[in-house]
Point group: C2
Chain length 370, copies 2
């Protein structure tokens, strides 16, 4: 007997990155660093944790569905409450979008190399996922995406910056793209790395201009260091939000996650530290990796993507780094088996990575294609 539809049977379960404890055990190492999951290397926002502690005594009560943080976000971004939704991470809201807007005959469209989560959500709904290649410089090819729209396309997923490439598209590219998009289509604009990217003058802050069929998603998981709590938010036209609110799990985000988000929004100091660390670390990693001869892609996020000569060398380098106590993230899941994504760490972590790579390259220069 198969209790599930064929599109579920064919799915694979999510395989998380290796944990630090796991690697310590496996390789008998005392120091292991994780540059694998684009987490905040400075830890969680201290003000977020303070607010969480204050919230604990009321955690026997059901959450309010994110009402308080929606109000704060609306005020901060000069929107109305009915234009804001909060959820269990931006992936939680994405799941909500899939459940609200898609039916069997719909199709979705995105880049061939982008955040796996969206594709999994669509496929687990039995939805056909169409993709187009990235541009030659590893960016979302918005023109090609617009050309690929067919009469069944219902949602286009864009990540800006993109994960795992770290690249952005510009405001003018995005504007030109939106001109070509029929109103019956929904555009998901995933801005998970927004706080880290907005220093780039080319980066389009999607809050500055509104389109009725664009839903912008953001998260507290990255710049605010709250990945463990599950809290994200979205902005869209009131009609979109109204329908999402009907379908969302009534108690997402959790009481605790909302408290963390509210605290983080006040933590200007922590955000500034995070941006400063990321600015320096990203520059250091990019320049050092390039100097070592690696093919590394310029990034506007908190990670860099390195392209190895082959899938095999990528897998080898990943395994070799593990034995040195450094966890990075191979990219088979984003259809880039020759890629390795390295999250920006704190100064000494980035340093440790580069020092190990230098030594490794002396023994195995093939990693940079020599």
């Amino acid at each position: 007997m198969s209790l599930v539809p064929p599109y579920i049977e064919s799915l694979k379960a999510y395989v998380p990155g290796k944990s630090i404890e796991e690697i310590k055990r496996t390789y008998g190492l005392s120091k292991v660093i994780k540059l694998a999951s684009n987490e905040n290397p400075l830890g969680p926002s201290p003000k977020a944790l303070e607010e969480v502690k204050r919230s604990l005594s009321a955690s026997h009560l059901y959450p309010d569905g994110g009402l308080r943080i929606r109000a704060v976000l609306a005020e901060r971004f000069n929107l109305k409450l009915e234009n804001v939704i909060a959820g269990a991470g931006s992936e939680g809201i994405m799941s909500n979008i899939i459940r609200t807007f898609l039916t069997d005959q719909d199709e979705v469209l995105t880049a061939a190399h982008t955040f796996l989560g969206f594709m999994v959500l669509a496929r687990s709904r039995g939805i056909k996922v169409n993709t187009v290649s990235l541009t030659g410089d590893w960016r979302f090819d918005l023109a090609a995406l617009a050309d690929k729209i067919n009469e069944r396309t219902k949602i286009i997923y864009l990540a800006n910056p993109n994960n795992p490439t770290g690249t952005i598209f510009s405001r003018s590219e995005f504007e030109a793209f939106l001109q070509k998009i029929p109103e019956r289509l929904l555009v998901i604009l995933d801005e998970a790395y927004f706080e880290l990217a907005r220093e780039n003058p080319d980066y389009p802050d999607s809050m500055r201009y509104r389109h009725d069929n664009v839903i912008t998603l953001r998260t507290f998981s990255k710049a605010y260091g709250l990945a463990g709590f599950r809290i994200g938010y979205g902005f869209a036209h009131g009609e979109l939000i109204r329908n999402l609110l009907k379908v969302k799990l009534p108690f997402d985000p959790s009481h605790t996650a909302q408290a963390a988000g509210l605290g983080a929004l006040e933590d200007v100091e922590f955000l500034e530290k995070t941006l400063e660390n990321n600015r320096k670390g990203r520059k250091f990693l990019f320049e050092s990796l390039a100097e070592l001869g690696f093919n590394v892609i310029p990034s506007d996020a908190n990670f860099v993507l390195v392209l190895l000569p082959s899938a095999e060398t990528a897998q080898n380098l990943f395994q070799t780094l593990l034995t040195k106590g450094i966890i990075v993230r191979p990219q088979e899941t984003s259809n880039l088996p020759q890629g390795i994504r390295i999250s920006v760490g704190i100064g000494e972590e980035n340093q440790m990575l580069i020092e190990h790579l230098e030594k490794i390259l002396k023994v195995q220069p093939a990693f940079v294609g020599n």
Copy 2:
């Protein structure tokens, strides 16, 4: 333009119960009690909060998908890891079940008066929900449910104890029912109130016997007082869990929620206090309400359902109690507009309710149908 399918358009958004702050403001009251949402009147488990505090420093890391608590639950209930799933509340797992097992042509089956959440999840997937009446004594009518199965029925939802009636079905009734259920059907057995009900010798502990197509759902929201964190768990055959794991959001439950659940499982003292308070309070409420002349249903959960002479009197009583600073929960949403569900509070809260009802009845005896 309508971006959503008709079954989404026709849904209504979840309306949460009134908050204590709201009622204080509206009626100018200084003391307001909430006996509306079946929350734990003793607050959250103290050991859960301790464990949460210890977990905070790692909350910038992505959650492990519930791996640690799955292992602890498997050991505690003498199961294998592959038979256990954890999620964002039992409602989160239920959403996962809907996404994993249902396709457009499937139908689901449940009681006419039960937990709204399941019906909303099914309807938001465009699934037809068939229902049968409760028995004369307000219990799930398992025989009628088995008779109502058609060739499209894919999931049967049972809540034991049922919400909002608080009634249970017995082990022998459940066994007889399962004999009639084809293997292609999935039975969701929602045991959200399990810890509170199992003292009744008639209550079937579903862990004592296994069926390949039954998934048992439990929660930390009630007996452990963790509704604000969103953590629940499920037990089922490995094949069911394997498919659910492919579809579930990879980072549910949150890091914090998992820590809370792990702490709560160790909090034997708090659970005992909760059961003791509930035993006394439920008995007091049932007997006092009956004595006042109310039609009150015997309950095995942490609430009692009162049936008023009409929907109008129920609404009147609800509003009258609000003005006295007592929030209870009307039951239009479970198709019982003449019903009012009252959660068991601490001693003085239950006392306050009964005292106010006594006074109210002197002025408006129509509430008990005199």
